[in-house]
């Protein structure tokens, strides 16, 4: 049986790991991405996600040099996002060792880009990220440019549209919950997973073991975890053991070099 995935999310700024709250508040330094990736590989996490958060604001694609170093150190899948706007940029990141790329802002600016990228690299290679915040009526609305530009798009409708454009996976990221460790947005996860035929990655809000279980039971194929791993005593091993004990199908195996 296919296992649910636990994916540490690494935000990269200036070659270092950082973490904030709601994308822009309380930035904290969180270490070296390459050595941290190696530690998580040893823990046997299922995938890694790297987001270069300066890439879109600076109008450049995600830094490939960090990725190249990671691919020399770990033998596990990883996705890279941040500022990607062309198929050539995707090709370069894949050549650096990435397995999948995350596209967020560029998908809104040019939805056809997702389809073009999928036809060149395969649907499975394209993860469309959807950052959103709830409006006054409680409707999830898509926000681009690293949480700075509101679009008015309904996040669920947008997820459907991106699936139609051949996104291989959809990653839902609640800006309201980012870094708050207050739990995933279970309502949207459950509505989106019921509607979509592609795997759903739930992002933002993990603070407790229970939160992880809830998001996966709500229908997510995978969860990303950032603050909880960086700033609490919950390790990937602890998360996995808890999930397995509570009947969620996860991997029991250890990582590389064990």
């Amino acid at each position: 049986m296919l296992k649910k995935r636990i994916i540490p999310k690494f935000l990269i700024r200036g070659g270092r790991l950082v973490k904030a709250v709601r994308f822009h508040e309380n930035f904290r330094e969180a270490g070296n991405p390459v050595s941290t990736a190696k530690v998580y590989d040893a823990y046997g996490v299922d995938e890694l996600l790297f987001v270069d958060i300066d890439a879109t604001p600076q109008g450049r694609p995600a830094a490939g040099s960090v990725i190249e170093r990671v691919s020399e150190e770990v033998f596990m899948p990883f996705t890279v996002g941040g500022g990607i706007r062309t198929v050539d940029e995707i090709a370069a990141l894949l050549a650096s060792g990435a397995d999948k790329v995350g596209i967020t802002t560029a998908a809104v600016e040019d939805p056809g880009f997702v389809r073009r990228a999928a036809s060149r690299f395969g649907d499975q290679c394209i993860v469309v990220g959807i950052d959103y915040t709830l409006d006054e009526q409680g409707v999830p609305r898509v926000v681009t440019h690293c949480g700075t530009r509101r679009t008015g798009l309904d996040a669920l409708e947008w997820a459907q549209r991106m699936q139609d454009e051949h996104a291989g996976e959809i990653m839902l990221c609640s800006i309201d919950r980012d870094g708050t460790m207050s739990g995933y947005d279970l309502e949207l996860i459950s509505r989106a997973s019921a509607r979509l035929g592609v795997p759903l990655i739930a992002s933002s809000g993990a603070g407790t073991l229970q939160h992880c279980r809830e998001a996966l039971e709500a229908g997510a194929s995978a969860i990303t975890i950032s603050s909880m791993f960086l700033f609490s005593d919950h390790s990937p091993i602890k998360v996995r053991t808890y999930l397995a004990t509570n009947g969620v199908r996860v991997r029991s195996q250890q990582g590389s070099f064990s």
């Binding site: 296992k3 033998f75 036809s119 395969g122 499975q124 290679c125 194929s221 990582g255 590389s256 064990s258």
Partner: protein, 211 residues
Amino acid sequence: MIAIVDYGMGNVRSLRNALEYLGAEVVLTADPTELAAADRIVLPGVGAFGDAMAAIRARGLAARLGDLALRAAKPVLGICLGMQLYARRSEEHGEHEGLGWLDAEIVRLEVPPPLKVPHVGWNDLRFAADDWLFRGIRAGESNFYFVHSFHMRCNDPADLVATTDYGGPVTAVVRRGRLVAAQFHPEKSQDNGLTFLRNWLEHDFGPDAGV
């Protein structure tokens, strides 16, 4: 010397890193002479089937690789899309002819809800306990990393070495003589993947027939 076929389709850096980590000497090449001189060949691949075949043909490699794999019986390991290229044809984005090394077709994964396509993530394999390809891999912990929307349907059950379960059996590993291929990514499958690659590297296939 292991030659990774460099035809512009795929994440070859990770593959190269994994093979070198295991002590192999690796060359990345599309040069027919270098391919012929290599002890073994790895055929990687990420992307669409039709594009991959076009890229192989554009480099004049389709017939050449066939000669090396079938006539010279050089050991070849296909990975992911590289495995799918072994088939006669694929229905991915229209009908495309493959290398035709195996009597097999590539068809879209059809799975019942709530299963999702693509099949992304870690899934366990079913294989014969004494198979040399899986030496050192325990049946209960046989997870490998898959990421694909199409899969191989083998017409000759003898070619099928391992399957995974995703709404029914899905071809995970095939083998015919010295042709081996995996749908999953061993270079991304942590310990199990490295063990699988090491088993392939260390297996004594005997001398090839030359060309």
